[in-house]
Each structure stands twice: as C-alpha cells, then as structure tokens.
C-alpha cells in the first residue's frame, strides 16, 4: 500500500466494502453460472476490484460512468443494487433493463451507470457526451469512462481523448490494464510502453498506478475528479491489474504465461487490503460484520433473481422506438 496516504478511515472501509462486494458477488456469479441456474456470458472482473472501488468513493450519484462488458465491478462499485443486477444477469423482468440488456448492457441511471457497451472502445466517446452536457449546463458532474488496455488501440479512444482535451471536458478515462486484450498479451498489441504515455499526445495528465493498491488509485482518482470538477479538463489514469478468470468465464488460459496467474492470485488485492486495514487498527469485527451484510445482500439478490419471471413476450416489441410501431 502507498504508505504516505492519510485517508479518512471511513473512506478506507467504504473502499473495502465495495471491493468485498465485488469479490463476493463474482464468486457467486461464477458458482451460479456453473451450476446452470443462470445462463449468461460472464466476463469476471475478479482481481480488478480495487480500481472502481477506489474511484467510485470520489463520485456522487449525479456523477456518471460508462463501462464495458467486463464491468460488473464498476457497476457494483457505483451503486447498482445487487438485486437488480442479479435479475438482469439472469434475464428476468425485474432486472435493471427488464432482462432486455443482459450482463453486457446493464444500465441504471439512478446510480449513474448510463451505458454499458459490449463494443471495445465505445465507452469513451459517449462518456464525453455526458461530460459535455454537464459542461454546457454549468453543472459540476463528472463522468468516468472505464475501458481495458486493448481499447486504447482502437480509433475511438484517440478521437475521444483528443475531443475531451480540446474541449476540457469533465471526464476521467480509467484504463484497467489487465495485461491482455481478449487472448493477446499487451506487448504483442500495444506500441506504447504504458497506456498513460498516450496522454501526452493529447496534452492531458496521464498517470500509471498499481491498480491493486486502493490507496494509489484513490489518490489519483481524487486528483482527476477535482481537476474535472474545476473545469480543468480530462485525465487518463492507467491502473495496472490482472484478471483472475481469463477473458470470458470458462477460458482455458492456454495463452497466458505459465505461473503468471498464480502469482497474481497470490497478491489478491482484496484480502491484502483487508489485512492492511486490520493492521492499521480497523476492528476485524467491523470488517466481518460488513462482510456478513454483503453475503446477506447477495443471498437475497440471488433468490430475488431466481424467483423472478422472465420478461413477457410482449417486451420483444417495446422500447424499440418511443411509440410502438406495428410490426
């Protein structure tokens, strides 16, 4: 952990709560999908918990995010209710999107989750628009665009960063660099030594942090959010991390460097931060209580999702256009 950081204990515990919620939800998602009770494409964010947890504690409900198909951690950290998230992943009418979006398109405006895209690189241009609305209206809301290292090689990244910098948009580009774009290693696909080096080309601050260190992520996110709120423009944060369960749940991992995953899992950010908090004086009972509450929340969410009905077939035709058009 970054030693010099002096962060309020309540914030630290809040970061941990969000990390634990992601970790425990992910464990359950994989278990339930494996059991066959839910059939869904699932892109596990396990290992990347610290990033959205430490970013989101700097955000309010009025701040917005755009995230991607590997985004369950970003959604939970931003406050999407577990029940609605689970029901959506299960394809139930009680889900965030009535079961019409699924895990790759979770949307929950009340908690600021405005777009989840299944297209690599597409979170950034839309995040700019959310930030543009805030700027034109004279609001202080900021927008976070989450994306992976692979997305920094697609044209939309470059168009979006350039436009955000030219217009000084209140947006924070958070790259969760987990070392692989789908099955291809970073070095094989990306010319930049690190993603943050690309910021200089757009004249915006760029920084690389240990994405498994919540304090380091918190500190950089805090600066970037303050800069955006002050009207000073965008920031690119590269948070280096590792995904524990491959590209899509069920991967064989044959494309990975042997031992790499095991080493990353041995440095699991969640138990590491837990121990650090307790060593720093947070009562273990407080942590255990918080974890028990999370487990209850997940139990309820799983039951809620599995007990809910799928959408009525009439939903096939609704929400295509504002007014229903006869098919």
């Amino acid at each position: 952990m970054t030693p010099e950081a002096r962060v309020d204990t309540a914030i630290l515990v809040d970061i941990y709560r969000r990390m634990a919620l992601i970790q425990r939800s992910d464990d359950r998602f994989r278990a339930v999908i494996k059991s066959g009770k839910i059939a869904a494409p699932y892109y596990s964010p396990r290992g990347q918990e610290a990033i959205p947890a430490a970013v989101s504690v700097n955000l309010t409900d009025d701040d917005t995010i755009c995230t991607i198909y590997r985004g369950v951690h970003d959604m939970l950290a931003k406050g999407v209710p577990s029940k609605l998230l689970w029901a959506e992943i299960a394809g139930r009418v009680t889900g965030t999107c009535k079961g019409k979006g699924g895990p790759m398109h979770i949307t929950h405006p009340k908690s600021g989750v405005m777009v989840t895209t299944g297209i690599v690189g597409s979170s950034m241009p839309i995040a700019n628009g959310l930030a543009l609305a805030s700027q034109i209206r004279g609001q202080k809301h900021v927008t976070v665009a989450y994306f992976g290292d692979g997305a920094s090689n697609i044209g939309a990244f470059h168009e979006a960063l350039n436009m955000a910098a030219v217009w000084k948009l209140p947006v924070i580009f958070v790259c969760q660099n987990n070392g692989y774009g789908e099955h291809t290693r970073y070095e094989l696909a990306t010319s930049a030594k690190q993603i943050s080096d690309r910021a200089i080309g757009y004249q915006m601050p760029g920084v690389t942090v240990d994405g498994n260190d919540p304090l380091a992520v918190y500190a950089e996110a805090r600066k970037a959010v303050a800069r955006a709120r002050a009207g000073e423009g965008p920031t690119l944060i590269e948070a280096k991390t590792f995904r524990f369960h491959g590209h899509v749940f069920g991967d064989a991992d044959a494309y990975m460097v042997p031992g790499e995953k095991e080493a990353a899992m041995a440095r699991d950010p969640v138990p590491r931060f837990r121990s650090w908090l307790i060593e720093g004086g947070v009562a273990e009972s407080q942590i255990a209580e918080l974890e028990a509450a999370i487990d209850r929340e997940i139990d309820e969410a799983v039951a809620f999702a599995l007990d809910s009905a799928p959408p009525d077939l009439s939903e096939l035709h609704t929400d295509v256009l504002a007014e229903e058009v006869m098919q």
Partner: protein, 336 residues
C-alpha cells in the same frame, strides 16, 4: 400596405439551406437543450461548408454550436452521451459516406440504447447529413445509404424533398425522442421552394400524397421526387393519372398510405437515388406484393441507381442516377 407586405413576405421563396438553418434557429430558440455539433459548423469556420449553420454560433454561442475535430465517432458519441441526460443534440456528419466511420456509434449505440436499457435511457439525437450525385464528387462523397439505417431497428430515417418539408421535418426530428437520420440532398440545396410556415412541424412516419391519381402510384423520396413529378406531368398529357407519394420518412414507413394508394391504382413504381438492389424499393415492393398480390395489375417496378460506385466523369455520373426516361418506362411497363 402592411397586408401586401406580409403576403409578399410569405411567398418569398426559400432554399433548403435557408430552411434547415431556420429550423435549427427556431429549435435552439425554443429549447436550451438543443445543441449543434459538427465539422466547421460555427461561424469562425464559415458556418458549415454550404452555410446551413451560418449565424447560429454567433446567435447562440460557441458552447451550443460547436465546431468539432474531424472525428465522426467522437461527434456521434458526444451527441449520444449528451442526449441520454436530456439534451437534444443535432450532430452534422458532413457527408453521408462519412457516417460509415461512425457506424458503431449510430448502429450499436444510438439505435439500441433504449431497447438494451429496457427503456431507461433514450437517444433523442438528430444526425444531419448531405449526399447525392451530380457534383462530380465520385465514389466516396455522394452515396445514398439510407437502406442500412432503415434496416436498423431503433432508428428513424427522414429524407425531405423540398425546403418547406426540410424545415417541418427537421423540427420534428429535433423534438422526437428517438435517433433520427436526416438526409439532405446536396445538388438541390440551392433550389428555391415555397417557404415553410414558422413553427409548423411535419409529422414523422407520414407520407405525403403530392398528386392524386388512379392509374399508377409513383413512390419516391428526396431528390428523385422531382423527377417523378416531371414524369407524372408528361404522362398526364396522355391521360395517365399518376398518384405521386413522397415518403418524407423512410423508416418508420407509412405502410398504410402506400397500401391504400396501391390498392386503388393496382400499380406501383418505387424510385430512389440509392442503388436499386437490396434497397428501400425492394422493401416496398415486398410490402405491396405480400399484401396486395391479388389486386396488383402488374408487378411492382423499382428504379434506382446503377449497381456501381458513383462514377466521376460527367456522362457516367449522369447515367448512374435514375433517369426520367427510365421512370417513365417503368410506369409504362406497369400499364402493360
């Protein structure tokens, strides 16, 4: 005196550039959520390459009328993001061929967010774009690509044929809650027409019967409506009564108006500048055959551009687009 002056004012012709400019101006005056994004659209960049947005940045400021980088994905992305939190952006993609650069934003995002979010968000953007053969711009600046967008659920596709229609349809698009693609024909931009009535919106999804007739229905939109009108005039001299329908909105298609007209005439020809194959004409011909098979007096005919890229050399370019003679021949074919 004053009555005469008002009347003169009313009949003063207006071209499509002026009509779209007026619609944008009126919409921006009505609603602070209306913003404009696009390449070169602000007055510092001459108010758009043909001047459609001239004066608007001076009147409403460079915050609401923004000249953008040449970044079509970023332009549409910014419009989408602003739209899902309640703004009504009008994004100009200078030429229709440039929409190809932003297809992901238009097709995967603008068109689908309402559905994928279960109706929690929607994307009230208007994408203005111009196109059309006739200016010698060759293969990448003049295509009619409306069929791609009409084939995308969640999009509305609008193609006016006159200045007054451009005004009324543009206002409707801006205040519509769905993403609208608004196609402006470039070579006829400067053609004068009757001025619109201020504030009068033309409903989307409703075709316009320009001329009533009982022998054959001519169905078109955008520039080729004018070719159809010339052909209808010519045939009228022989006593052939053509019903001319201007779709105005390509999607959603006004199926009821088309079916009613062709049920009456028993004959139909669809004309568009887009290439003929796999186009809007095929959809309409199918619709008519599926619903009116027994009542049709002849197979529905389609007239469209040649199945090739738009050529440069003038004789080739002129031969590429539908000819009035070709429209006439198609009509005569239905008459047997």
């Amino acid at each position: 005196m004053s009555t005469t002056a008002t009347m003169l004012e009313k009949v003063k012709p207006m071209n499509t550039i002026q009509a779209v400019n007026l619609a944008l101006d009126d919409a921006m005056g009505l609603d602070p959520n209306v913003i404009l994004l696009g390449e070169d659209i602000a007055d510092g960049q001459e108010g758009g390459i043909v001047g459609v947005t001239k004066g608007l940045s001076t009147k409403y400021g460079n915050s609401r009328v923004r000249s953008t980088p040449i970044s079509e994905q970023a332009i549409i992305g910014a419009a989408i993001g602003a739209a899902i939190v309640g703004m009504r952006p009008v994004a100009e993609i200078m030429l229709m061929n440039f929409t190809t650069v932003a297809m992901d934003m238009i097709v995967n995002h603008a068109a689908k967010l309402r559905y994928m979010s279960g109706g929690q968000t929607h994307v009230p953007i208007t994408i203005r774009t111009m196109t059309g053969a006739g200016f010698g711009t060759g293969g990448q600046h003049a295509d009619y690509l409306e069929a791609w967008f009409a084939h995308t659920p969640g999009m509305k596709v609008v193609a006016p044929s006159s200045p007054a229609d451009a005004y009324g349809l543009m206002l409707s698009c801006i205040f519509d809650d769905d993403p609208c693609l608004f196609i402006e024909n470039m070579p006829t931009y400067w053609n004068p027409g009757a001025p619109p009535q201020k504030g009068q919106r033309i409903p989307l999804g409703k075709a316009n019967i320009l001329r009533e007739g009982s022998d054959v229905t001519l169905i078109s939109y955008s520039r080729t409506v004018h070719d159809c009108a010339v052909v209808a005039d010519k045939l009228a001299q022989e006593g052939i009564r053509v019903e001319l329908i201007d779709l105005r909105t390509i999607s959603p298609l006004d199926e009821a108006t088309l079916l009613k007209s062709v049920a009456k005439t028993g004959r139909a020809v669809v004309v568009h500048e887009a290439v003929r194959k796999f186009g809007v004409g095929a959809e309409i011909a199918s619709l008519l055959h599926e619903n009116l098979f027994g009542q049709l007096k002849a197979p529905v005919q389609r007239v469209g551009s040649n199945h090739s890229p738009v050529p440069f050399a003038k004789p080739l370019e002129m031969a590429f687009v539908p000819q009035q003679a070709g429209i006439e021949a198609a009509v005569r074919k239905t008459l047997g």
